[in-house]
Symmetry: C2
Subunit: 310 residues, 2 copies
Amino acid sequence: MTLCVVGSIAFDAVETETGKRDRLLGGAAVHFSMAASFFAETRVIGPVGDDFGEEEYAVLHARGVITDDIEHVPGGKTFFWSGRYERDVNVRHTLQTDLNVFEHFEPKLSADSRAAETLFLANIQPDLQRAVREQSDARFTALDSMNLWIDIAHDSLVRTIGMVDCVILNDGEIRQLTDEPNLVRAARAVLDLGPRVVVAKRGEHGAAMYTREGVFGLPAYPTADVVDPTGAGDSFAGGFMGCVAADDGGEPTDELLRTAMAYGTALASFNVEAFGTERVQTLTGGEIAGRVEELERISRFEAAPLVLRA
Amino acid sequence: MTLCVVGSIAFDAVETETGKRDRLLGGAAVHFSMAASFFAETRVIGPVGDDFGEEEYAVLHARGVITDDIEHVPGGKTFFWSGRYERDVNVRHTLQTDLNVFEHFEPKLSADSRAAETLFLANIQPDLQRAVREQSDARFTALDSMNLWIDIAHDSLVRTIGMVDCVILNDGEIRQLTDEPNLVRAARAVLDLGPRVVVAKRGEHGAAMYTREGVFGLPAYPTADVVDPTGAGDSFAGGFMGCVAADDGGEPTDELLRTAMAYGTALASFNVEAFGTERVQTLTGGEIAGRVEELERISRFEAAPLVLRA
């Protein structure tokens, strides 16, 4: 199946304890599509400015990402974000955000993108996500969002969530969206809004998936050297949705969704090993498969029945 | 095998959004021994005052806990702790701590307690933990600690850690102890101090185990109604160590330790379902086994090899 992603394409400047990069290819749609490209034909939709050139397209094309629907805004500048991570990389400071061409982005899907069977709405204003959803014929759709939209566009986001099959958010965002500190209750409240799958990304603590049938939990891959966490969540979503899109048909089963969680976790773990897209650019299918097997070993145990003194 | 635990025996007053209790049987050694009692003969060591009576002993005896080594301090009062949990139960405020008889506690092990094959040093001053360790002939020993001792008795704690097989701490404490924000590196640094097993308790995020051979990760049981989290970590340790003690012999294998992590997780999940020891008092072996099987279903996935487009 074909997978279509709509979201930001960006240049990032990133500073960590170990290094600094002034201009990295980034943005949610880029990280997502690079990860998804290992699994399914992936089409990326987003705006770029005059500063987005051959070199950047080459990175996406090397992974087979279809860039026909990238919208070049003449005279414009590409979305720019800069941030600094503390020694504890869980603490991030945004230094600068220049929306540039992203400010007036109105996504238009080509016939091919509309026909994609799987759609991911990366973190953009929820009205725009809804407009994309309405243009798409996808059979399985998912969205990401952020604290800003939960704050200033709550009702619109809730409406949009009602139109997708799957929500992929940080655990803190799921709590904030539902005003419910218990994540199990919060995830159930999101299911009540319409989707049949809620994925909670928990960073170094792993990820959890909630459906009406039950819960699935997976630890993160234990990475000792996190170089740059930027885009980890988008790479997770790309691996997850790519895995769903790689399947031949119908509603994804619980078994497929669990496998997709593992592939998402693997892709996120590679993403953080280098700056920007650097690690995923050199990644191989064998490395991905190896890490998923490793995750299986990390999370395996025997529920050996003991003779309990009850 | 027999399991011996040394630590606090307390009365707790707990306030949550949903209720309030003025006097609950509590303390690390109590929660630990109640949980461990499902798996192995459990001996509890700690001081109590005149206010600790028939009713409290009856709770421990109902679970078969051996209380011969509980030290009654005539004229003394039992350790008292009171705290309040916010609506988000991850946020706890300590309101009062009266050490009482615990202030001058000098643990003395009887011949039977010295002979116990398994020993748990609950969170007490690390010099005392070391004194207990030196009295014990246990083949497998573990300890817990807290931020206070990491702050004011760091060197003593490090020395004590060098004398045990296993360290069971919150993830934040492992980071603090090693001044290393990355948990994988932090856990390795603790392994370098001597123990062969490091367990990181992560509350609602589950638990992880680090050995020289590798990593094991397990999600928490998804509890929608957390009534009182007090003692969850001690119940985890009790289930974990009880499971190790239930095994017949020798060094616990990686497989046994993984199973023990699941039983610890199950016991912690029951502990939080009611105030104090109330839930564990009514718990059955069947319920524990059922929850461990459920944890196995929650964390199971197929590393189905996909045809990757690499």
